[in-house]
């Protein structure tokens, strides 16, 4: 049997499990409605150029929508994979003539890949409807902002929750940990700025920028005019922003590698 067929079998199974009718449809509805409800293009009076493009994208994938998206990802990664481990379905999957890492890839492709496709597909479609000139004039800024938003919290949390799910073999607990980590991230981001202002040192901002590259991008564009309150302390250069983004993705990649290695060699089933 060719390698592709069992992979597709597992991928189809994962799709059925992750997106039972009408879960996918409900999330599509929420993403589409949220994209138009939460953005106010008139709020960016005075902003121009890349700073405007950054503000628009940030608002489009702001807290309510991003939270719904993170919940979908965590549900798929933690609850989906966790219940496979819990119910012993994973043993059936291991009987397929396929390496363990391909089984995990099929699961993640469904849980992460399809969700990302849905979310970003609707976001880009919404941006084209709302502000076509911005997305056509500054595609690199739009892409960079989405890349930063995707890195942390979405992929970072997915990597962490994947490891917790495999380690604990209980999806429910991993899901709760994921939600707590997401909310903790929001609280910490507020603290970090206060610490930087309080101590007069940029160190906390720089450490946070490695974990959450969007904060470096935010400071960079705020200084360019995305906010009336331009940063008085650390402002990274564009190459530094790219460096922090690269570091963020390295952390994400490391987390997924740990997950894969654990699934491949250490998962005792």
């Amino acid at each position: 049997m060719r390698k592709g067929r069992p992979f597709l079998e597992i991928f189809t199974y994962a799709l059925d499990e992750d997106y039972r009718f009408p879960i996918l449809e409900i999330f599509a509805f929420l993403f589409a409605l949220g994209t138009f409800v939460f953005v106010d293009l008139g709020a960016y009076s005075g902003q121009t150029g890349e700073a405007l493009a950054y503000s628009l994208v940030t608002t489009l994938c702001g807290f309510p929508l991003l939270f719904i998206f993170v919940v979908l990802i965590l549900k798929n990664v933690a609850y989906g994979l966790g219940s496979d481990l819990d119910r012993g379905v994973i043993q059936t999957l291991f009987s397929y003539p396929l390496k363990r890492r391909y089984i995990l890839t099929a699961r993640l492709l469904s849980g992460l890949g399809i969700a990302l496709l849905l979310f970003f597909g609707i976001q880009i479609f919404g941006l084209f409807l709302l502000a076509p000139d911005v997305i056509l004039t500054y595609p690199s800024t739009v892409f960079l902002t989405y890349a930063a938003q995707l890195c942390s919290p979405v992929l970072l949390l997915a990597g962490l929750v994947l490891f917790f799910t495999l380690r604990l073999k209980r999806g429910g607990l991993a899901l709760v940990i994921g939600v707590i980590l997401f909310l903790a991230g929001l609280i910490v981001s507020g603290f970090v700025t206060s610490i930087a202002y309080g101590t007069g040192s940029d160190l906390s901002l720089k450490i946070w920028a490695v974990i959450n590259p969007n904060s470096a991008l935010q400071i960079y564009y705020y200084d360019m005019g995305a906010s009336l309150f331009a940063s008085e302390s650390w402002v990274p250069s564009f190459s530094e922003v790219l460096l922090y983004l690269g570091a963020g993705y390295l952390i994400v990649a490391a987390l997924f590698v740990i997950g894969y290695v654990y699934f491949d060699r250490r998962l005792e089933i």
Binding site: T12, Y19, F21, P22, L24, E25, I26, A28, F29, L30, F31, A32, L33, F36, V37, V39, D40, L41, G42, Y44, S45, G46, Q47, T48, G49, L52, L118, I122, F125, L129, L130, A131, P132, D133, V134, T137
Partner: protein
């Protein structure tokens, strides 16, 4: 069967996106901030007021009353274009105070295009200052940039209009006094808010809903048949 399921699920997703757009379109617009001002306009001169960025979601309602017939124009300049014009004015008049560029970039551009060799308009230089606000300069500027005119009704003493621009645009109101005597003009602007870019959203919804239904029907029918068989 798998293809029917795949296309069916894609169809239901498209249908839900279309329905979400329809819901966004149905949410009614609401009124917001309101401002009123009154000012005289000298003979054969015009005044401009840059409002703010309006978008397909945030529109405005304008009412103008004047003591004599005036021309009213609503102009909309994209943020990118406005940025380019500011750079152009900075290059043309390097010594000009930034506040003038921020406040009156459009009159400055019109003036520069009408009198490229002239010194920059300045409050201390009444001659060039008056030249900048001349209706002839305005007419020439609007002829050169007709694409920025969003509303251009015939001259009158009473106007009322509601506008939701098709894109995010910096909106300006121009009132020109073509007569040989001064007029007193009272203008009222009321912000309007809509959840979504009404025109575009409904076009997209009209397209997506039938496509979604067409793709979903075979799957839903086969699902029902399957259910009744077992």
């Amino acid at each position: 069967m798998r293809w029917i399921t795949l296309l069916g699920r894609i169809g239901t997703v498209i249908l839900m996106i279309g329905l979400a757009l329809l819901v966004a379109w149905l949410i009614p617009s609401g009124a917001g901030f309101q401002s009123t001002w009154s000012q005289p306009i000298e003979p054969e001169q015009y005044m401009i007021r840059e409002l703010r960025v309006y978008s397909p979601q945030t529109g405005l309602q304008i009412s103008v009353n004047s003591t004599d017939n005036v021309h009213v124009y609503i102009l909309g300049v994209s943020l990118v274009e406005l940025d380019n014009w500011r750079t152009l004015v900075r290059e043309a008049y390097p010594d000009l105070d930034e506040i003038f560029i921020r406040l009156w970039v459009v009159p400055m551009i019109f003036f520069h295009e009408a009198y490229p060799e002239e010194t920059p308009p300045n409050l201390d230089d009444p001659q060039t200052w008056d030249m900048m606000w001349d209706v002839a300069v305005l007419d020439k500027g609007l002829q050169t940039h007709p694409e920025i005119i969003l509303w251009d009704p015939p001259p009158s003493s009473t106007f009322s209009h509601e506008l939701f621009p098709a894109d995010a645009l910096d909106i300006m109101v121009i009132i020109a006094n073509p007569s040989s005597s001064a007029v007193e003009v009272e203008t009222e602007i009321r912000d309007l808010a809509a959840v979504a870019a009404k025109e575009r959203v409904i076009v997209a919804a009209r397209l997506l809903i039938p496509i979604g239904i067409a793709l979903a029907i075979p799957w839903l029918v086969s699902k029902k048949v399957k259910k009744s068989t077992f």
